[in-house]
Symmetry: C2
């Protein structure tokens, strides 16, 4: 019997209980043992809930139960999740989490603590929701030297950009629609400014290099400046605007960035629409691979947590290899990242733009009051210098 406890009976936590109950037979076949949700920790009571009797308010009940095998931490936030996780791992109880804040902040320390107590700290659900991406990186792409990771890692913002792309909606209207549907929170800052994504690409980058990439070191630019006009130009170029996280190993060092990019129709990420996410990985002998699926949502995220539970149950008393130490990686300067830029200026600045930028292609989307173009490959320092000469730029978006 595998005894499971769920910390936090919110969206993901209740999803974990639902996935275990719905797929009990499949899961038990895969573990080779019975599984039971023994406790649900929450401050609230849930009268009338079918699992009401499993709800406890004191974490000690769970962590002091000698039969406890795996704890699912679906509370989010740093505390008390951090303290609870450390207590469990110290006692040899494996912890599976969807909590990207905690993983991004204390991943290496918690992995080391798990290893020294012959249990596991697993976090498949912290990046890409239901998409298996952590496990493929740790246990499938092991013959590769991975030099490039690029992802659409936030369902809310991808939904917003898809509405803008397909319906011609402006940012504010698309955000409102996402909020009405429950995709976006009342305060959407963490999503639309890229703070959520920066934690996720920090985790993926850390797994690529085996060291600690701090999300606070990552250059992050939000999508609030993207307008319906930008999408018109994107259409004229057979491109779409996607909110991407990048992580790249170069001769100069390790680089990471979160920003909106224009993506060509031929690129596999182009077709990732609505609340779907995808992670695109390049390896030196494997070439390109991509992993696609639901990047958020109650059941897909819960399914990833429960897949971690299965892995822990199959490895009781053994450590699953995760290479991630706390040597902090010094990221290279994001200003030096070179790519073509799409730039819009007022029509009367066309001549100034032509002399300030090396223009590769002029883009016509039928907006007479503007002059828009794509530059050759430049870095951000060069872009800023040229933009200063023009004096008035309406918007600029990088191209991938």
């Amino acid at each position: 019997m595998i005894n499971v406890a769920v910390l936090g009976y919110g969206t993901v936590g209740s999803g974990v209980v639902e996935v275990i109950e719905t797929n009990k037979k499949d899961i038990e076949r895969k573990i080779g043992a019975d599984i039971e949700v023994k406790y649900i920790l929450d401050l609230r009571d849930f009268p009338g809930d079918p699992y009401e009797a499993k709800v406890v308010h004191d974490y000690k009940t769970i962590v002091n139960d000698p039969d406890m095998n795996v704890i699912c931490e679906t509370m989010g936030g740093l505390e008390p999740a951090f303290t609870f996780t450390k207590e469990a791992l110290s006692k040899g109880i494996s912890v599976c989490t969807s909590n990207k804040e905690l993983v991004a902040a204390h991943g290496p320390e918690l992995i080391r603590l798990a290893q020294s107590n012959k249990c596991n700290y697993m976090f498949e659900a912290s990046v890409g929701g239901g998409i298996p991406i952590i496990r493929p990186m740790n246990s499938a792409l092991t013959a590769e030297h991975i030099d490039f990771v690029m992802g659409i890692l936030n369902g809310t913002t991808n939904y917003i950009l898809t509405r803008m792309d397909e319906d011609g909606a402006d940012f504010a209207d698309a955000l409102k629609e996402a909020q009405d549907l429950g995709y976006a929170e009342k305060d959407p800052t963490a999503d639309v400014e890229g703070f959520d994504i920066s934690r996720k690409i920090a985790i993926l980058s850390s797994l690529v290099c085996g060291h600690y990439v701090n999300y606070e070191d990552i250059y992050t630019e939000g999508i609030t400046k993207i307008s319906a006009e930008d999408l018109k130009y994107a259409h004229a170029m057979n491109k779409a605007v996607k909110f991407l996280a990048l992580s790249r190993e170069t001769h100069e060092g390790f680089f990471a960035m979160v920003a909106p990019f224009m993506v060509d129709r031929e690129h596999p990420l182009y077709m990732v629409r609505d609340a779907f996410n995808a992670v695109f990985i390049h390896g030196n002998t494997l070439d390109n691979t991509m992993y696609y699926g639901r990047g958020a949502g109650k059941l897909p995220t819960a399914s990833a947590v429960v897949a971690d539970v299965v892995d822990c149950a199959r490895h009781l008393g053994k450590c699953i290899t995760i290479l991630w130490d706390d040597e902090r990686v010094e990221l290279t300067d994001a200003n030096k990242y070179r790519c073509p830029y799409f730039v819009r200026v007022p029509a009367d600045k066309a001549d100034a733009a032509k002399s300030a930028f090396k223009i590769d292609k002029v883009i016509d989307a039928g907006i007479a009051s503007e002059f828009a173009f794509v530059t050759g490959e430049i870095d951000n320092t060069e872009y800023e210098a040229s933009a200063a000469k023009v004096g008035d730029v309406i918007n600029r978006i990088r191209l991938i």
Copy 2:
């Protein structure tokens, strides 16, 4: 030290040696031990080859070496691969293979033999080349009840269909181009008739249900009848023709099929072009996920074999869970699979077609001599009955 032997120094086998040598540092970091290719088994000598000194002609040298840990079987075909694999596993030496014929024919028996000798039989490279798909199915999608798998599982035929789609080439010309580029073999039957794909979907289907799906039981239809005209109609419908393998669990039982299908531009599989492959999986709580990458080629396939080697090296003396027994699955009748059909008849049969079929939409691709349409959902028995009434059908392709 992990000692590896490679059986067969052909395309994949030499790729395995190249991947291990190229990524030695990364691989050793992931294993936590040194790795060496100790032997290469081949009937030929390779004078001047950098690994010439490792070549042996007698399998006994390898299988009787007490220090041997993992054997990579990249010979292909049933014999002597089957005998060699059994000998290795019987001695507790793990075997990693790219040999889909052998896995499709004897997978359950070899897995059982490995389990009873505390070693592993791994076959990531047998399906989808470099795409991690076997490992995600076995160890990541473990909380799911998977009810639908659909894949583009052959690089050669996807390349041919891409050329037909993008260049308007006819089948024979696209095949010739694929042969000139080395993608297609001189005798392309196994690829274009779907025999290669049927083995791959048999393996995936088996892993979904845990029992034995025999590839010979799978309804398989090739792509030789697809013409440049079919692609013109596909364009008119915003679709592409893809050579798909399907596996679906229904109320009536388990179903599998290999056939060309028309796929809509909105579907993630639409953008899988050239020699790339992808596997699309639906789970009951995870919804849709997709895995994309190079489905063939020396280094990508070799990378998958070496990822298996890493897994075996991490699990010396322990068995990795693979649920696949030899209870043979009775597949449901492919004639009962319901979907819309795209149908082309000569223009003078338009009236006959209109009375024989329930037509959903007439398709105009500017071919005056023909009448083409899409039916409502029908099964193949219904299709055949209607087609017989018309008497003359130029071609028909299913829609997904």
